[in-house]
Symmetry: C2
């Protein structure tokens, strides 16, 4: 027997009549995901969590875990998806916040930094996922390319790079996304109340992005 029939018991977040029972189930499911994030943040990465640990933190018996996920890896996939949705919404809002080209970059970075600080758990998980199971890595890659595509579309709509082809806009966006994800881990590892260090990090981040956009402009002129 190679093929495994998907268990009906494991809800794939599909829509259904919202009876009290179903709502409670979704709530427990969320508690499991939150518990995993909370634990992954306290020191070790996601890869070193145990099913029992997560269940305990969520306040259910280990066996109950299986009512919601087939395995810890499946929970991880759901986390990647959740992170992605949160993050994309924020980034889109951030980019549309202010259009003053002179300050849009720095203020976007500020917004991003705040968001990372306020969602440490999600970002921590996303950063650590790079070393996780192949399936999780693939999911993460998909999320990143969603980001990049969305950002490319926004750049197009903002009209800042009117002469660039779609492919080039995607290139720029992917570089920005990569740089952002990298900056996130640096932000997470900032010691508390290290104002000077924090300021330097943000300046560094702003400069990196400025460099990229300068390159984009130049690319535009050349081609």
């Amino acid at each position: 027997m190679v093929a495994r029939a998907p268990k009906a018991a494991v809800t794939p977040a599909a829509a259904a009549a919202p009876t009290p029972r179903r709502e409670q189930k979704l709530r427990t499911r969320q508690q499991l995901m939150d518990a995993a994030l909370r634990l992954a943040d306290q020191g070790r990465g996601f890869a070193s969590l145990s099913l029992r640990e997560v269940s305990r933190e969520a306040g259910v018996v280990p066996a109950a875990f299986y009512r919601h996920f087939e395995s810890l890896d499946q929970l991880g996939l759901s986390l990647v998806e959740e992170c992605g949705v949160t993050l994309r919404r924020l980034l889109r809002e951030a980019r549309r916040q202010g259009l003053d080209p002179a300050h849009v970059l720095r203020s976007s970075v500020e917004i991003y930094k705040t968001h990372v600080s306020e969602h440490r758990l999600h970002y921590q998980f996303a950063a650590g996922a790079r070393g996780g199971a192949p399936e999780i890595r693939r999911a993460l890659r998909t999320e990143e390319s969603h980001f990049a595509n969305e950002m490319a579309q926004d750049l197009r709509e903002l009209g800042l790079f009117q002469d660039l082809s779609s492919d080039t806009l995607k290139l720029v966006s992917s570089l920005v996304v990569t740089t952002m994800m990298n900056a996130a881990t640096d932000i997470l590892d900032l010691p508390e109340a290290a104002n000077q260090q924090e300021k330097e990090l943000i300046e560094h981040f702003v400069s990196q992005l400025r460099l990229i956009f300068l390159g984009a402009r130049q690319w535009q002129i050349k081609s």
Copy 2:
């Protein structure tokens, strides 16, 4: 008792008279590190390895592990260091290979890609380490900044960006290093014999770097 005296039994790779016994010990130590890399490559990341697993793979009894490392995390730190040394030497060589500005970028990328393919284990570990213990993350960050500094120095010596300040050269280099590390994970996850996909990835990588260097040039002109 807070302070822990370092155990003399755990060799910190310090130089010493190379007696047969010491040589054998270093050989076993290397076998442990190689075993960890081999296992970390086969699926799961470093974080999910066990001390017993690594010892078994290395062909020694679990208790023998303690003659070489205090813990798995300590072995991880040694791995980060080893990766760094290998990688820096290569990068330096790659950059000095050919100076023809028209092709130096593409050929460097080719060399890099080959190196990643031939040292999958080290790169896999380095990519996964981002989600590991804080101590390992810090070590990794240190290695990356070594890279960047060295690259900045090389760029200076090559005379390609004569008008840029040291700080700006470091900025460019750090962005390049980040982009390289990111590309490494993409290279590692390439399916086997996917020539078209591989070609596209390399083109993407080259374009990203070209964009960065275009930005650097522009920065130069502006300031």
